[in-house]
């Protein structure tokens, strides 16, 4: 059976310890050198970045998250031993782990690190599909001739490089499709490298719970359970038609996944569908002026991102969450696409005024969708809003100043509310 030392990358013949460096981290699998679809998932990414940047945190339980009623965004492995999980309410995490060091997320730092990792992955293959800052699919089919090494070796080299150059660890899942690659990367965390080969797919899945499927959350799980489906072997008992009839489009997908089939391609350039921004308040807000300030800041952030990416959008969305957690969304199509904060804010504001709910609200967000590439032209002016031209020119001028002197160099008074 082909094998590989994950530390010195020596190719071996099925042994329990590397004959070259003596490391026990030997990976052996019959399909080791023939599989090419991989999923890389960083280990406790945000927490690991914080620990790297502040070595005094190394042995302490670290939780990334924030706010009075925030949730855990990432917990380091020390905290995970104590039972802390991501998406857990902060107060509960603190009950389990009162001595935890809580750190507010530094998204810009994580994004920067993510870019460095992405650059390393880009060297492996042009087909990289990021799922978030800290995980991505890679399709390495056909890269063996280029690198002079099979995908498994290149992937082991990638995580080794992430550790030596960035001080971060990641886990690899290697399989023959996206679904199984993602499942595999989670099998042996942290610093894992797991393989699900074609031959063992059916055996592997049989007794796994269906919640293994990415996208099957609490709601779908309940629906499946009602149908008596808990594990993959339950799924296998269903006809394709029966599944489709009962679960719609998800049914057909379930039928395939039950057989370990997933035809989705790793797509390097999945086009962006929307840009949005939302915030949960520290305390519910009913004051319209205060909400207006938030709305402007959200609109400005969305517009900044659209401008940075050279994108315009034609649909403006407003999202509100009331105190009772009911979500209100409103959307409006524009005649011409925009990337101006001014247009976005005004349309979102009009939608907000039409909601006719006095609040209080716990969340507010706005977004832009139906995206297309921006060209040189600005939207047509508005006869009934003669100041539009001036405002759009002012926004472009403001952008130029911010570009040069920093994003806080000049802001609207409205943003200080």
């Amino acid at each position: 059976m082909p094998a590989l030392c994950r530390d010195c990358l020596t190719e071996l013949e099925s042994v329990s310890r590397c004959t070259a460096c003596g490391s026990p981290r030997v990976l052996a699998h019959p399909e080791l050198f023939s599989l090419s679809i991989a999923h890389m998932d960083c280990d406790a990414f945000y927490a690991s970045v914080e620990k790297r940047d502040d070595p005094s945190l190394a042995d302490k339980p670290v939780i990334i998250g924030g706010g009075k009623r925030g949730v855990v965004s990432t917990a380091c492995y020390v905290a995970r031993i104590r039972g802390v999980r991501s998406a857990m309410p902060m107060f509960k995490a603190l009950e389990l782990c009162p001595d935890a060091v809580i750190i507010k997320p530094r998204m810009s730092v994580y994004a920067e690190v993510s870019k460095q990792i992405r650059a390393m992955m880009d060297e492996l293959t042009p087909i990289v599909e990021p799922l978030s800052l800290d995980e991505a699919f890679m399709d390495l089919a056909g890269t063996e001739r280029l690198h002079g090494a099979p995908p498994a070796i290149m992937l082991a080299r990638l995580v080794r490089r992430m550790q030596s150059e960035l001080g971060l660890t990641g886990s690899i899942g290697l399989s023959h499709n996206k679904f199984l690659a993602k499942v595999a990367s989670d099998l042996d965390k942290p610093r894992g490298f797991s393989i699900i080969g074609k031959a063992e797919t059916a055996d592997f899945l049989r007794d796994q719970p269906v919640s293994l499927i990415w996208g099957v959350g609490a709601v779908s799980r309940e629906a499946l359970e009602k149908a008596g489906i808990r594990t993959f072997s339950d799924l296998l008992r269903w006809d394709r038609e029966e599944l489709s009839a009962r679960f719609g489009s998800m049914g057909d997908r379930l039928w395939h996944l039950a057989r370990g089939q997933d035809a989705r391609r790793v797509s390097g350039s999945d086009p962006m569908k929307s840009i949005s921004n939302e915030t949960t308040f520290f305390e519910d807000i009913a004051d319209p002026d205060l909400l207006d300030g938030y709305l402007w800041r959200m609109a400005a952030k969305v517009a900044d991102r659209a401008k940075a990416k050279g994108i315009t959008g034609r649909v403006v969305t407003l999202k509100l969450k009331r105190s009772d957690h009911r979500i209100i969304t409103r959307r409006q199509s524009l005649r011409e696409p925009t990337q101006l904060a001014d247009t976005l804010y005004r349309r979102a504001r009009a939608l907000f005024d039409n909601v006719q709910d006095p609040g209080p609200f716990r969340l507010l967000g706005c977004g832009l969708s139906d995206l297309s590439k921006a060209d040189e032209t600005e939207e047509s002016g508005d006869l009934l809003d003669p100041q539009f031209g001036q405002r759009s020119e002012a926004e472009r001028a403001t952008d130029a100043i911010r570009e040069r002197f920093g994003s806080d160099a000049i802001v609207k008074g409205r943003s200080l509310r």
Binding site: L351, N354, T377, L383, L384
Partner: protein, 372 residues
């Protein structure tokens, strides 16, 4: 109720009624048409609570009465019956069914009681006048393209019909705008229309009205109040609520001092705009107009897909200038010109542009430029 009616007559009456009915309906009775038969007349009434249409036709009424059935189903049935067939409608109120018989076909449709059908309250009209169908057709056809679909500015979701002053005296005027384009169309004021309150006629009403205006010889009786408008022919009565809002003061946004005059053959211009716009992405089609003496160059530059340019011989004698427009807006206003040349009046590349049809003062369009 029992009546017999010729299939063609029935189809015409039912099709007008069913188009008012909203396709996605939560209140069952609103999907129905109310059929009332008396003497030698049958009447079809449909409503969406904002618009009500009543269509009358001559029929052989054996037994007077009334019932309601699903408008679209009845329409579909009648549409599929052979031409020239005699159709018999018989209501069986005990069974709650309406039978539709023609030639060898026999249908039995579920009914709802006529008492449940919401009939629009009759109201007093302040103004009643009569207008020829072609006059109303021109007023609404030339203005409706500029109606806004933006729900947040609901008062723009219709055509503003009112009495106004023009150079030659008082006129009946229709105005529509979505902020990017504006259309202002005038017609001679029928004497009885003087003093009419200005009303915003909703988009859907404008669409329904159009079906009354095909006959060039028809005279339309128009009645207007602060809240409703009614258009009637001997066969059809269309009653609609008007939009409860204030139409903005459009006179302030019509440029008065645009002096740079371009005259161009409207259809040649429209075809050229359409051609150059082909290369641009569908979303933001900006067409650049470069003007110099007796020459117009239209161009589109789409970074991803390509570029296009076309030159037109025009009448222009002012300074060189460049101005950009959304291609769709240009095409729409250019297609309003039917006989004369299109006359554009520019000020600068950032200001609204005026378009007229030759020397005709009764139609005026405004379009906002894009910065290119």
């Amino acid at each position: 109720m029992k009546l017999s009616i010729e299939r063609g007559t029935l189809l015409k009456a039912v099709s007008q009624a069913q188009s008012v009915v909203e396709r996605r309906n939560t209140i069952p009775i609103l999907a129905n048409v109310l059929i009332e038969a008396e003497d030698d007349t049958v009447q079809f009434r449909a409503t969406d609570l904002d618009i009500e249409v009543v269509d009358r036709a001559t029929a052989h009424v054996e037994r007077a009465g009334a019932t309601t059935v699903a408008a679209t189903t009845l329409h579909e049935i009648v549409r599929k019956l052979p031409d020239g067939a005699l159709v018999t409608l018989t209501a069986d109120s005990a069974a709650g069914r309406l039978s539709v018989e023609a030639v060898r076909s026999n249908f039995s449709l579920a009914t709802l009681p006529r008492e449940d059908f919401p009939v629009m309250a009759t109201s007093e009209y302040d103004t009643n006048f009569s207008a020829a169908a072609p006059v109303l057709r021109r007023l609404f056809d030339k203005s409706k393209f500029a109606i806004s679909t933006e729900e947040t500015r609901y008062y723009l979701n219709g055509v503003y019909m009112h009495v106004s002053e023009a150079d030659g005296g008082k006129v009946l005027r229709c105005v529509a705008t979505d902020g990017h384009r504006l259309a202002r169309i005038d017609a001679d004021l029928p004497p009885e229309a003087d003093g009419m309150p200005g009303v915003i006629v909703p988009r859907k009403t404008v669409g329904e009205l159009r079906k009354l205006l095909d006959d060039d010889e028809a005279q339309i009786a128009v009645s207007v109040s602060e809240t409703k408008i009614r258009f009637a022919t001997p066969e059809i009565t269309l009653t609609s609520k008007v939009i409860d809002g204030t139409f903005p003061d459009y006179t302030r946004v019509i440029p008065q001092a645009n002096t740079k005059r371009l005259e161009v053959d409207a259809s040649e211009f429209a075809q050229a705009v359409d051609r150059v716009a082909t290369v641009s992405s569908e979303r933001s089609r900006a067409v650049k107009l470069q003007l110099e003496e007796d020459k117009l160059v239209l161009s589109v530059n789409a970074p991803d897909s390509g570029a296009a340019e076309e030159e037109l011989a025009v009448a222009y004698g002012d300074d060189r200038m460049e101005i950009g427009f959304n291609a769709k807006y240009l095409l729409e206003i250019a297609s309003q010109v039917d006989r004369e040349n299109a006359v554009f009046l520019f000020n600068s590349s950032g200001d609204p542009t005026v378009m007229r049809e030759g020397n005709d003062q009764s139609a005026l369009y405004v379009v906002m430029p894009m910065r290119v």
